[in-house]
């Protein structure tokens, strides 16, 4: 028995110095952050022409960062596509002029998803009776029926935020968008490597190193800033 113990101890000491035996630390495994912290950094937008349909004031009281818009204009559409908001609550009717979207809310959803498939969108409508609107509900990540009560709204928003605000989700998003922006496989690999280094040791230097690889592209830098917020909270 002593012999076995000595042999296994010897092997484990040696293993530390052999690279293939070293346990590869997963960069995305960091100290979990509380949901209160997620609420502080998360940004939600509700887009609905009926200001009464969503309990905005109650959510603000609960400490959520939440904006309300009744219409989507070109400027807001750009911000939505850039990933400024972690969760978009989107109505289907009456929220966009024909110049922005010929299909109103459905057109906005498709536009955002085509540009940014990882954007978390909650379809928010009472038109579940309308077979022609099935696509709107099916293409969104979540859905909320109108009218929504506070408790149900909070449950759904929390679910959506858990999905949208986590490092792995940001990493997947970053890789997808980098690919779409024409980054080569090598460049994407380099980005993944600097992210690994950054998440293992989140210092201003490693963040700067990570950031500069994104070539100033706003979609990507937005994600970098979000990752920084999570890592700052997890320290």
């Amino acid at each position: 028995m002593l012999e076995n113990f000595l042999i296994s101890s010897f092997i484990s000491i040696i293993a530390r110095y052999i690279p293939s035996f070293k346990k590869k630390e997963t960069a995305i495994e960091i100290k979990p952050i509380s949901f209160d912290s997620i609420k502080k950094i998360g940004k939600i937008v509700v887009i609905d022409d009926d200001i009464n349909s969503f309990p905005i004031n109650e959510f603000k009281d609960f400490g959520y960062n939440i904006d309300l818009y009744t219409q989507v204009d070109h400027h807001l559409l750009k911000r939505l596509k850039n990933g400024e908001y972690d969760v978009i609550v989107l109505d289907i009717n009456g929220i966009a002029q024909k110049s922005i979207s010929i299909d109103d809310g459905f057109g906005i959803l498709i536009n955002i998803k085509e540009h940014h498939p990882h954007q978390v969108i909650i379809a928010f409508s009472g038109a579940t009776y309308d077979i022609e609107k099935n696509d709107f509900f099916n293409k969104a990540d979540f859905f909320m029926r109108k009218p929504i009560d506070l408790i149900k709204a909070e449950e759904k928003i929390d679910l959506a935020m858990h999905k949208a605000i986590n490092l792995q989700y940001y990493l997947d998003d970053l890789k997808y968008l980098s690919h779409n922006k024409g980054f080569s496989e090598n460049e994407i690999k380099k980005i993944t490597n600097v992210i690994d280094k950054y998440t293992l040791k989140p210092t201003p230097k490693s963040y700067e190193d990570f950031y500069k690889h994104l070539k100033g592209i706003s979609d990507l830098t937005t994600i970098a800033e979000k990752m920084k917020k999570i890592l700052d909270l997890s320290e």
Binding site: D130, I131, N134, F143, D149, I151, E154, L159
Partner: protein
């Protein structure tokens, strides 16, 4: 709506005149073979050369018969001469069938648009419910407490009733959407939920309504398990509890039981109510059982139909059992009825 059939046709085994072309007297008075009663999707001829064809459309199934087709080679010349006034071309037949298909498409579209117009009017009702919800939530926020649940507990009974009734009203209106669009039962993907908590909230809301009938809602059992369900799942217990209150004997007890069996959760709702005459039919759209109208004029026979739509989306079967000890009360047989399902 009766379709405009211009040719002779078969209805319930009997040949009827068309709006323009009458039944050939040979078919009506002499023919004993009735070959034309067979279903044929392409133009066919009986032994006397009369044409017949079936139309299986979106709305109508028609059996056209007794046709005197100008190009029919099997009709003896004496019959062709006798019924020359009924002669039609295959082109006319084709045109008529195409027009029938157009009419069916138009009828379906008109019907769907009409339904949509009426359902769109629900938008205003939803707006009113939203106003009620926001008002009650504002009143609740003014109560003392660290969070919304605490504040709700400390609110007076009227505010709680306002809040819970508006939620219940919203859930009831949702059943209309399910009727119009059964696919909506699976919107939003499945999410993990504590089933006991969900049913508990529903029972608390329905206690307010059960008071009117002096019924007592009792929730037994317990479960901590989470299950993956669609948003629509709530329709199943909602319909079963609503029915239980509707049909329960006045001042009766309704028992809702939830318990875990291995990795499953079983939910049952038991009430003392009229014996169900035809268990197989109660899930059919529009069906109300024999004694239902005696108990409540309210109801269109849609509740269990909708509950089944949602149950099917979840791969759940709603089962019914009743006890054999029956008591006759005012001419209606009463027994213990239990509806249950397993997740």
């Amino acid at each position: 709506m009766k379709p405009p059939i211009i040719f002779p046709h078969i209805v319930n085994g009997k040949i009827k005149d068309g709006l323009i072309y009458k039944i050939p007297s040979y078919c009506q008075n002499i023919c004993k073979d009735f070959e034309c009663h067979q279903i044929k999707n392409t133009l066919s001829y009986c032994s006397k050369g009369f044409g017949y064809i079936s139309h299986n459309g979106l709305l109508y199934t028609l059996h056209i018969t007794g046709l005197v087709i100008d190009t029919s080679s099997s009709m003896p010349s004496y019959l062709k001469k006798q019924f020359s006034h009924l002669k039609i071309s295959t082109d006319l037949l084709t045109i008529w069938f195409n027009e029938m298909k157009e009419l069916e498409r138009f009828t379906i579209q008109y019907s769907e648009e009409n339904v949509k117009i009426h359902l769109n009017s629900l938008h205003d009702i939803r707006h009113i419910i939203a106003t009620l919800m926001r008002t009650s939530e504002t009143l609740i926020r003014e109560q003392p407490g660290k969070n919304f649940d605490e504040k709700l507990d400390k609110s007076n009974q009227h505010i709680i009733t306002l809040y819970k009734s508006s939620s219940l009203l919203r859930d009831q209106i949702e059943t209309i959407s399910l009727l119009a669009n059964p696919h909506s039962a699976s919107f939003g993907g499945k999410n993990s939920s504590n089933i006991y908590q969900l049913v508990d909230k529903l029972v608390k809301m329905y206690r307010v309504l059960a008071k009117d009938k002096k019924c007592h809602l009792k929730l037994d059992g317990n479960s901590y398990a989470q299950k993956e369900i669609y948003d629509s799942f709530i329709t199943i217990p909602l319909v079963l509890i609503d029915n239980a209150i509707k049909y329960s004997l006045k001042s009766g007890e309704i028992t809702i039981t939830i318990y875990e069996i291995l990795d499953k959760i079983k939910i049952s709702i038991r009430t003392y109510s009229p014996k169900i005459d035809d268990v197989d039919k109660i899930f059919e759209k529009g069906y109300r059982d024999k004694y239902a109208p005696n108990i409540s004029s309210r109801g269109g026979g849609l509740g269990l139909y909708l509950a089944k739509i949602v149950a099917d989306a979840h791969d759940i079967k709603i089962e019914h059992q009743s006890t054999s000890d029956i008591t006759n009360i005012s001419g209606i047989p009463y027994c213990n009825n239990t509806f249950s399902f397993t997740l």
